[in-house]
Subunit: 292 residues, 2 copies
Amino acid sequence: MNAQPRRICLVGVGLIAGSLGLALRRAGAVTEVVGLGRRSEPLARARELGAVDRYSLDPAEALAGSDLVVLGVPLGAIRGVMAQLRPWLTDDTVLTDVGSAKGCVVGDVKAALGHFPTRFVPGHPIAGTEHSGVEAAFATLFQGRRVILTPTADTSGDATATVQWMWECVGAEVITMSVEHHDRMLAITSHLPHLLAFGLVDMLSRAPDHEEILRYAAGGFRDFTRIASSDPVMWRDICLGNREAVLDALAGYRRDLEALAELVEAADADGLEAVFRSAKQTRDAHLHWFER
Amino acid sequence: MNAQPRRICLVGVGLIAGSLGLALRRAGAVTEVVGLGRRSEPLARARELGAVDRYSLDPAEALAGSDLVVLGVPLGAIRGVMAQLRPWLTDDTVLTDVGSAKGCVVGDVKAALGHFPTRFVPGHPIAGTEHSGVEAAFATLFQGRRVILTPTADTSGDATATVQWMWECVGAEVITMSVEHHDRMLAITSHLPHLLAFGLVDMLSRAPDHEEILRYAAGGFRDFTRIASSDPVMWRDICLGNREAVLDALAGYRRDLEALAELVEAADADGLEAVFRSAKQTRDAHLHWFER
């Protein structure tokens, strides 16, 4: 049983892994948090901010004695990073990641290692902001938030318990579900909205008078498009990583917009009001889930 | 010159007119704010909250001696209200409204009166929340916000000056533009986003497992859909009132979503990143306009 690791290695120290390091160190949960990355600058900054105890650019040095390795890199980097770490992983090393799509992580890890390790527990903290990088990290990011773990049929129960323990140390509630279920749900509540917000602002940016149009945008527009200030590379990777579920969600939404356009075209007041009323009722009834 | 009216009549006391009444009374801008409506309950509440000095259900009584009449009713009620007020309007009465679309106001007022009065100045304060009703009103709602006035070619300059004075009294910045320009701009930054947010939550509400899906929604979803908690009747009226511009904006957006779907389908990483990057750059560069 490896439920309480002593040393945790964070691979990449962005908003999520940086916040995790801050929170684990504040909680005194582990003996040491080690940062691993390609460039020393963000790692040095992570140490200054208190997100890691020490850091290294050398996988051998960083992984030596680490019981738990958290991949905090973008989805598009998982495959390359796993190939680099491969020589230094032991049978005891528990691995997890923080990516927003899970099927592609399983696929990329398999592609890098030739198999999917029984001690790799895919994970996704439902937390974040539109900002990125360790400068945006804060220790309370996971307080009261949910973390989804998607162990496969072969995943070790001990490894899952270790990763669950880590997230509970930083105040999160852990839920377990299948990779497919995770990817379909998140496509609807997260990946599709990002695509829609990026799309709207992009459309606007191509209008010759977009400077003036934006001058008369109000709070509704600001909030609707907040996620369009998110990291373009990260969201490119998520949309492509969860490509099929995102395409399904987008296709369903495009059919709905066609129906809405027909209601407006036909000036169907009752039909339009029914759609708006159903949406308001659903959102108001579930506000307690996501206003926490 | 009628630039400083002594008595203002608010027709309807919802979020916008209620906040206007609170702010005008706090500023000591006028001698009296009179509320007019169909039901005494919200009017009595408006008086309790300090949004009006007195109120009446009788247009003759409420309009007597009022220099300026502000229509705070939903767009769908403008025509009926103007027909009811008609017998008590004098040549000196300055009128304005607060509707989110302006072409339909001009049309409905013409339909009710047989002409569009030279002392009617269509207006739209770019302010509000997803809440409605006088309970949600607050005196600082217009502080630092923009108010668009859309006088027609025949509108009296004095009347426009009076309405501008009123909005400046409550801390707003007043801009003047054509009805058509207003309606096209707001279709993109406000009406379309509302339609998109209502549409997404409605789609979700029809998924059998929407309770569970919403449980894993995060801050991004909360903000993206905040406007889907807006008043369904008000937004039905706005979408139909500004029908042509809304249909144009929606058609443009649907073409863009088709292009985005093709990028995802083709796994075109560079194309997708370019769209996301352009959107982020545009939003970040203009944040100062709408974060105030």
